[in-house]
Amino acid sequence: MKSLAELEQIRKQTLERINLRREDKGSEVRVVVGMATCGIAAGARNVMMAFMTEASKRKLSHVTISQTGCIGTCRFEPMADVFIPGQDKVTYVNLDERKAARIVSEHIVNGNPVKEFTITNQDLAQEKGNAQ
């Protein structure tokens, strides 16, 4: 692997920031993107990379972006859940890269969920019921 030396450099620079974050575990924000066949076919990879690129550019090291399988409502893919400690989970549907970038700036950074991209838990439950 060609540039492990570079990685070693990044490790040194990041370590201090990481230690600060450890003491502040309660502020961890999680973004979970659905990445089963349905999500992937609908564009979930580009959405996930948009979340990652946006969070990386803004140095949001308290934000973790991860993936999960099929959420059960494939019609709404690409989907993502945003978890902010102390707040209700927000589920976003029919995402694309542009929407993901807006969610990072408006919801994660500024604390205002982008309502026009969300779906209520009630609608989600009903849709799941219909699918089964």
Binding site: M1, K2, L4, R11, I18, N46, M49, S56, S61, Q132
Partner: protein, 184 residues
């Protein structure tokens, strides 16, 4: 799936679901334009019946819905280029999937955003399996092993923003250096 890279992404999801500790991803392009994609995992594996069922679009091991299209989709995509598809699996022995695409065939999907796909897999599964990646074409070879990365990083998580940007750019270099000829 409009890209070979998306087939790869989808197949690796199966390895992750199967509880793999290490997933090996190999992409090899030969001089005749044949692209061989191999995904080998050490997950729980399947018996013969399970492997047969995995090839059927109407079977899935998940509970959320009743169809599982991933593997049949990739098989059809490979076949439609005159390529091949093989799945070898045994309980406790993991699974090996090999798909061969003729990239010169008119029906072959483009390779697509390979680097982004690999980055999404590695960064999206910080607690998931480790990945070894081998890309090669006619003497040009690139390899990456996330275990080596994690050894170097120590307590710094692999999905830390700076590491994520670094990894994404390394993967782009690796992909361009080896498979650049078929990345559109």
């Amino acid at each position: 799936m409009p890209e070979i890279a998306l087939h790869l992404l989808d197949l690796v999801q199966n390895s992750i679901q199967a509880g793999a500790q290490v997933v090996e991803i190999i992409l090899r392009l030969d001089l005749e334009g044949r692209l061989t994609m191999i995904i080998r995992d050490d997950g729980r594996g399947m018996d013969d019946q399970g492997a047969q069922q995995a090839l059927s679009p109407f079977v899935t091991s998940r509970a959320t819905r009743k169809v599982g299209l991933g593997i049949p989709l990739t098989r059809e995509a490979a076949y439609s280029t005159g390529g091949s598809f093989d799945l070898i699996s045994a309980p406790g022995q993991g699974t090996r999937v090999q798909a061969v695409f003729d990239t010169r065939h008119i029906d072959c999907p483009p390779l697509g955003k390979l680097a982004d796909t690999l980055a999404a897999l590695i960064l999206g599964n910080p607690e998931g399996p480790d990945f070894t990646i081998h890309l090669s074409c006619d003497g040009a070879e690139e390899a990456l092993d996330t275990r080596q990365m994690k050894d170097t990083l120590g307590p710094v998580p692999i999905n830390d923003p700076d590491v994520a940007l670094w990894l994404t750019s390394v993967l782009h270099d690796m992909a361009n250096h080896t498979l650049g000829g078929i990345i559109s």
